[in-house]
Amino acid sequence: MPSITREEVAHLARLARIELTDDELDHLAPQLDQIIGLVGQVSEVAADDIPPTSHALPLTNVMREDVNVPCLTPEQALSGAPAAEEQRFRVPRILDEEA
C-alpha cells in the first residue's frame, strides 16, 4: 500500500497550482511515495516532550524607524512584469466565467 496515491498527488498538484501532465503524474507518484517513506523516519524519534524548533536562532520581531526611505520607482517595480498597463501590473481575469 503506497503512502501516497496517484490521485492524492494530482490533488497536491492542484493545491500547488502546477498543471502536471499524465506522464509526470506517473513518474512523480512513486518517487514521492519513496521520499515519504524516507522522511517518515522522523516518527521513530520519541519526541513528545521536546519543543519544536522553527528557526536556528531565537527570533524577535525587527522594527525600523517610521521614516521615508528610498524604494523602487514604479518603472523599476514594473520592469520585470510579463504585462503592464497604465503603471500597473496587467493580470488575466481573476473571476470565473460564470461569475
Binding site: I35, G40, A81, P82
Partner: protein
C-alpha cells in the same frame, strides 16, 4: 603575466598594490580564461564582460588617485545566480526567471561592490538551489574541472567549478543543506557556510528561509576569510541577521594554529556508505591535526541520523511557501495568457512550464507535509527532531571546540548517475545538513585525493554559532601542513583543462 589566473586573491592584491598589474588586466585575464575553457566547464550562466571591466577600471582609477582600498579591491569574483545584481540577468537556474533583470542589488552584492570586488558573472546552479549536482539547472550541467565527466557538486557547482577551472579566484555560494561545502569538497576548493544570520539573505532568492546562508568560496583558506569579512555582518534589511561583530576570521586564518584545540570526530558520520578513499584521507587529516597539537576525541551525536529525513520535510515545506511567489503576475515567465484563461489557470500553466522536475517534487512534498492531517506527523515532528539535533551539538560543544567529519560520503560522481534516484542524490548531504538545521558555522577544506578515483576529498569542520573563526583556524592549519607535504595546495594537482578558442 599569463599566469594571473593561477594567483590567489591575496597575491593579486599585492601585485596591484605594487603596480605590477592592474585590475583591468586581471579581469581581462579571467574573462579570457572563461572564453577559453567555459565551453567545456559551463560554470557561468552569464558573463558580464562590460560590467566587470568597468568595475575593474573604477578600482584602478581609485588606486591611481591614491584612495585607500580594501584587501580585495580589484579582485574578480564569480557570483552564484541566486543572488540579485541590479541590471544583470538572474535566473536561479530556472526557466521561470529567464531574462529577468533584478532592479536591486542583494546586500552581499552591495558589499562586494563597496569593497571593489569585480563581479565577472553569474554561475550555474541547481534550479532554485534544489540539488547536489547542478544537473537540475534548466540551463545544462556544469562539469567538474577535475574530470569533465563528473558533476561539480551542487547546488553551487558553478561557483566551485569556476574556482577549480581558474576562471575566478573567489566565488559566492549559498548553503541551505550543503550547497557551498559539498561542491567545495568535490572540486578541491574551500567552501564556508557562515553561522546562519551571519551573512544577509536580502536579495537571495529564498529556498528555505530558516536555513539559507550565503558564504565565501575560494582556492585558499585565507582568501575565503578575506571574502567572508567583506560580505558578513549585520543587515537591517534581513530580519534574521545577527547584530554582533563579525568573528575574527582573517586573523584566525593567518594564525593557522590548532595547538590545544579540542576536536571531536563525529562517530555517526562515517562507516557504512562512506567511500574508503574518503575515510582514509579524512582520518589522515585528523592524525595530522593531532600532530599539530590538537586534542582529538570521538563524540556521539545520536540524532544526526534523523537530520536527513527532518531536512527533507522542513526544506520542502519552506520551499513550497517561498516558491508560491512565482505566480506569473509580477515578474518572470507567463504562459497561456490568451485572454480567455483565468489568472489561476495561467498560474498553473506557467508553473508547469517554468519549473523543473526536482522543484515540482519538492513543492509537492512540502504541500503534502503542510496539509492538515499530516502537519503534526511530518512538519511538526521534523521541528522536534531539529531541536534534538541542536541539543546534540550543544552537548558536543561542552566537550570540544569543533566537530569534524568527511564533508561528503563519496567523491564527485558521474554525470547522470543519480539523476533519477532522488534519495541517492539526497544522501550526498548527510554530513552537511545537521549544521544547517542547528544554524552553526561549518566549512569544507581540501584534504587530499581518494585512491580509488583520484578525486578531491573534503574535510568538514563544524563550529558553534558565531565562532566562525574556529573553522579558519583549523582549515588554515590543515592547509599549511598539507601544502608542506604536497608542495602546494591541493588545486595545484588538478589536471590541465584543454583550452579552446
Amino acid at each position: 603575466m599569463t599566469e594571473l589566473i593561477r594567483k590567489t586573491a591575496v597575491e593579486l592584491s599585492e601585485l596591484m598594490a605594487s603596480g605590477q598589474t592592474s585590475s583591468v588586466e586581471i579581469a581581462q585575464a579571467h574573462l579570457d580564461r572563461i572564453g577559453a575553457v567555459d565551453g567545456e566547464v559551463h560554470a557561468f550562466l552569464h558573463v558580464d564582460t562590460e560590467g566587470a571591466l568597468a568595475q575593474a577600471a573604477a578600482v584602478d582609477a581609485k588606486r591611481a588617485a591614491g584612495e585607500k582600498l580594501g584587501p580585495l579591491a580589484g579582485v574578480p569574483l564569480a557570483l552564484k545566480d541566486v543572488l540579485t545584481q541590479e541590471g544583470v540577468p538572474t535566473t536561479a537556474g530556472s526557466k521561470i526567471l529567464e531574462g529577468w533583470k533584478p532592479p536591486y542589488d542583494a546586500t552581499v552584492v552591495q558589499r562586494l561592490k563597496a569593497a571593489g570586488v569585480v563581479i565577472l558573472g553569474k554561475t550555474n546552479m541547481d534550479e532554485f538551489a534544489m540539488g547536489s549536482s547542478t544537473e537540475n539547472s534548466a540551463y545544462g550541467t556544469t562539469h567538474n574541472p577535475w574530470d569533465l565527466g563528473r558533476i561539480p557538486g551542487g547546488s553551487g557547482g558553478g561557483s566551485s567549478a569556476a574556482l577549480a577551472a581558474y576562471e575566478a579566484p573567489l566565488a559566492i555560494g549559498t548553503d541551505t543543506g550543503g550547497s557551498i561545502r559539498q561542491p567545495g569538497a568535490f572540486t578541491g576548493t574551500v567552501g564556508v557556510k557562515p553561522t546562519y544570520g551571519g551573512t544577509s539573505r536580502y536579495g537571495l532568492i529564498a529556498l528555505a528561509s530558516s536555513l539559507d546562508t550565503p558564504g565565501p568560496c575560494a582556492r585558499t583558506t585565507l582568501d575565503a576569510a578575506l571574502l567572508h569579512e567583506v560580505i558578513a555582518g549585520h543587515d537591517p534589511l534581513d530580519s534574521t541577521s545577527i547584530d554582533q561583530p563579525v568573528p575574527a576570521v582573517v586573523e584566525a586564518a593567518r594564525r593557522a594554529d590548532v595547538a590545544g584545540l579540542r576536536i571531536g570526530v563525529v562517530k555517526e558520520l562515517g562507516g557504512e556508505g562512506y567511500q574508503p578513499g574518503v575515510e582514509a584521507r579524512f582520518h589522515e587529516a585528523v592524525e595530522l591535526l593531532t600532530k599539530l597539537g590538537a586534542e582529538v576525541v570521538e563524540v556521539s551525536c545520536p540524532h544526526f541520523q534523523y537530520a536527513l529525513p527532518a531536512y527533507y520535510l522542513i526544506l520542502p515545506s519552506e520551499a513550497s511557501s517561498n516558491l508560491a511567489k512565482f505566480d506569473a503576475m509580477r515578474y518572470g515567465l507567463r504562459v497561456g495568457d490568451d485572454g480567455a484563461n483565468s489568472a489561476e489557470k495561467v498560474m498553473s500553466l506557467t508553473r508547469e512550464a517554468g519549473f523543473g522536475a526536482e522543484v515540482k517534487r519538492r513543492i509537492m512534498l512540502g504541500t503534502h507535509a503542510l496539509s492538515s492531517g499530516y502537519y503534526d506527523a511530518y512538519y511538526g515532528q521534523a521541528q522536534k527532531v531539529r531541536t534534538l539535533i541542536a541539543q546534540d551539538f550543544t552537548k558536543a560543544y561542552e566537550q570540544v571546540d569543533v566537530l569534524v567529519s568527511p564533508a561528503t560520503p563519496t567523491t564527485a560522481f558521474a554525470i547522470g548517475d543519480r539523476v533519477d534516484d532522488p534519495i541517492a542524490m539526497y544522501k550526498n548531504d548527510l554530513c552537511t545538513i545537521p549544521s544547517n538545521l542547528a544554524g552553526n558555522a561549518a566549512a569544507s577544506f581540501p584534504c587530499g585525493l581518494a585512491d580509488e578515483d583520484g578525486l578531491p576529498v573534503g574535510f568538514h569542520v563544524m563550529a558553534p554559532v558565531m565562532r566562525d573563526e574556529l573553522l579558519y583556524q583549523v582549515g588554515s592549519a590543515l592547509e599549511a601542513a598539507l601544502a608542506d607535504q604536497w608542495g602546494g595546495v591541493l588545486m595545484t594537482k588538478a589536471p590541465e583543462l584543454e583550452v579552446t578558442r
